[in-house]
Symmetry: D2
Subunit: 319 residues, 4 copies
């Protein structure tokens, strides 16, 4: 192996830049050349690539987003798209690939390997933490802290007015962000996509707080009933309680990464280069119980990672 490529794909996540830097540094320490593919699978198909060196990766590790850009690329879902991408990789002399992203990214990587045999290693880069095979994904820790800081601010105003707030956080079909942030912010109720919200139980929790008391309900965006606006509406229609709604939105994807995200991004960056050198392919490098682990890419989306049960217990216990 002489030259590897790295790219970021799907939703961007804080820590991706620290990850790119770690791949560049580790690869060069091992005598490899490193290329950055710009714009995810789109850039792979169009051959938009740039040489990565110390100067390019200087002063990026504390920045949100990804200097290699990212995209969603439907063309890559077609075999022709992948063939075109493989030709570009070949013409750029790429011997191995590191793909940082979520399950969509890994699907593509898996197919690229299956069809064209190029060694490819995935790294978990998504704020949603919904990948099996790693305790935490790169970007998750930053996202939960960003959300918690926003909710701490909302609590100021909720407290001052004695108001009921529904606050919607990201997380796609998984309740990780909602549960961690809900426990961290002392939410009175946490609605997650994994289970149907019982409106009557929600109502009981709200009124248990007492009239004119601040009450904060955290809602994961994939909530079955339809999110924060919908819950707010249902509570008003059925029980006549008015409330305010806040959708935290895309700010949760940005910001300077936390220490934990930077260190995880660095560790998995170094480990992914090592995995390629060790002849591994079609795997994701993750961190499980403090150790780096390799799992088949297909396992990351076919196995379902659940929200830790202790969080669910704490959410009930500490109300």
């Amino acid at each position: 192996m002489k030259r590897i490529a790295v790219f970021t794909s799907g939703g961007d996540a804080p820590g991706m830049n620290a990850h790119i830097r770690a791949v560049e540094r580790t690869a060069h320490k091992h005598g490899l050349e490193v290329i950055g593919i710009v714009g995810g699978y789109s850039g792979m198909m169009s051959g938009h690539m740039e040489v990565l060196d110390r100067i390019r990766t200087a002063n990026i590790l504390d920045r949100g987003g990804t200097v290699l850009k990212t995209s969603r690329c439907p063309e890559f879902l077609e075999p022709e798209g992948r063939t075109q991408a493989m030709e570009q990789l070949r013409s750029h002399g790429v011997d191995g690939v590191i793909a940082c992203g979520g399950d969509g990214t890994f699907h593509g990587a898996h197919l690229l390997f299956e069809e064209h045999g190029i060694p490819i290693v995935g790294t978990p880069g998504t704020i949603d933490n919904d990948l099996w095979g790693t305790d935490f994904t790169i970007g998750y820790d930053t996202a939960i802290n960003t959300a918690a800081e926003a909710i701490d601010k909302i609590r100021d105003t909720a407290d001052s007015h004695g108001r009921l707030f529904f606050v919607e956080v990201m997380g796609r079909h998984a309740g990780f962000i909602a549960m961690d942030v809900g426990v961290a912010c002392g939410a009175e109720y946490i609605a997650v996509p994994e289970s149907m919200t019982d409106i009557e139980e929600l109502y009981k929790r709200i009124i248990a707080q007492g009239r004119d008391q601040r009450t904060i309900v955290i809602v994961g965006e994939g909530d079955e009933l339809g999110g924060a606006y919908k819950l707010s509406q249902l509570i008003e229609e059925r029980y006549g309680l008015t409330s305010k709604v806040s959708i935290l939105g895309h700010m949760q994807r940005g910001g300077s990464p936390t220490v934990r995200d930077r260190v995880l991004a660095a560790r998995l960056g170094a480990a992914s280069v090592q995995a390629l050198l060790d002849g591994k392919t079609d795997v994701m490098v993750g961190e499980v119980a403090g150790r780096v682990e390799l799992v088949p890419l297909a396992d990351t989306w076919s196995h379902r990672k659940s929200v830790p049960s202790y969080l669910i217990e704490l959410a009930t216990m500490l109300v």
Copy 2:
């Protein structure tokens, strides 16, 4: 004058606690007793009051929200409500009142003075900065920094994806927040309530950025066309451009106040006590060009404060 009361009313704003502390400290330095009215005009009507001392106001100046709570109180709009409030003030031995809030708060204060003659001084506490008679209101500086930090984060993801974003900020009918934040964050376009947005011009600005380039449009919540969602929709319908929308929402009201807000809150707190001691009433204490100024309460809402023209010029010049 032996005993004064202070309260916060309307939307809460960061710095209100620093203001309450300053009133308490200044009043005691002048030998006055101080009472805090809890929950704005509601608390004034129901006699919900508490004695303020050093211990009560310790460790609050860096906290968002207001320890005296706040509310919107329609009953106070009726003469009977104000009479009831005045009886409570009398029965608590209150000789003068400091009212921290926005124009709704000042309307009430003005009527209370007119009808019952109790000395009352207003202080500008609102994140919207829409009060004539002061360059800045307490809470405004914190709100613009909170909004800018969120937009900096959104730019991370907008940049990584080359996306168009419509970001809605608070400010009611005034474009102060939108303009200051838009200039500070290098927004490509700023839509303010003061003028009708020209959709064609907006479109031209967006495409001038180039295809697949990050573009951020800041929208003041009082925007004539209906806010960020509406603008996003119009741009898609007319020109086929897709975009993301983020409504920053209530987090802009909370958070630990900035230095400028704490110092302004302290200065106007001390000045409002002094104004009562000097026999002033029916006035607001504000800061104009660095000096404390008194203006009649009625002027604060009848005169319109405009967004500084230099901000509008900068917004055009620096795109």
Copy 3:
């Protein structure tokens, strides 16, 4: 068991308030009464205690420091001191104690149990992360993020001037903070208490950066050679290189806790109450590889917890 007490002791750490709240909530869910001992072992000896309820623990979980105060108490090192403390606990009807702090706190707790038989469970509350039996201590995650944010700022100025900086972080005799922060901030060299710094090697790393390039050396406060000032001086004396020094200091102990610290504090709070109910004593509840574990108090200080080897490897690999 009908009534338990909780206290914080030694250096304060962010998350202690979230911990106190979790103990209060969990205990009440289990029908226990809860008392807070004010000021650590001093308060235990003098009987300075207060009842903890929902109202007392409302709105504290996002605050740094500890509402129960803390202290260092040499009198408790004497048997007489502990006897006096035990009498106070008895007279307040305390059946079990939760002690949140570091190794000094646990020494005291261990002796109190040995001599007087009162059930006592420790929880790891210290920013230094130097307790065996838990992967992370409460407060550590906040401290490393606070330090990293400060170093990110220092890098701005170091970069602009092309300067060499020695930045000293906390951690007592352990290099956890230095290593995590050093890797997270891309430090050019990390000096930890666990090993003697080789000045010549340090010099080589510095000049490898190139003349007039920003270089940041992170120094753990327990560094054998004497800390950041001493290293700066040695590098100047031997090699004629001038540098700037920054001691981050006590700000690393404060601030609103991160999500991870709040959740850890909550989890160990709930677990410590459960441990008392289960008849456990003379143990610390910690979190190891994602699970709550109980370890004898004496093990927490007699076993030495080492900085993870992967951090040391990353620090070398990513320079």
Copy 4:
């Protein structure tokens, strides 16, 4: 005028990047070419310059430090140095210069104009706020907020332990930072360089807080008695009070600029280009009472700007 140059010099300050961007954008809107001089007067002498365009100044306005680097350059103090610099400016076709920095920078600019006649306009870029002719300097608002956030954290631990802290802030020979931050953080005493600290009065203030109460003394770095360490020592020697010391240090120079600093930087950037176009030279553009003003460069250092008297009064009133 066809081509102008801009540079940053002396201590770096947050907002310098926003300033560089504003100069670039404004100049191009007026049809001027813009060159960035790298490394202040050093780069001017060595001809280290680069063309500035939209791409170079994209995504810098929220970053601390200065992308044009800075330095202290003793050679420029000699007439030969300035002659050499002028030759470089001529050979690069520079018709006008914008110099962003503090009094040292302006001294150099003034001499360059006097000796060589090149139009030169200064802009106030320093965290110290010690320049006459502008109410605030670029970087000051960020520095006071950075300091206040650190002190809020120190208060957590000071409060928890009931400790006396001496916290030293930057500001060179001026007490602006100390006074603004001291008032904002509710300091019990503020020692500024402008007046000799009375140790007995300081002691009285400390003990007035009560035994075992948190007490925070803010010390400006230019304090006559020698700074925070010296004051701490004097209070211990004379009165036997022990205390902790924290020197906030260089982190105060960095960080993402506040909205106020970004807007000020933008406004003065646009105004400085306009000043050159209007044929002005040997002047600084500042902001006084909300308006842009031009003052002779020599006035900026020969007139002394004082800390506003209202801050001094508040510091006494609100203790």
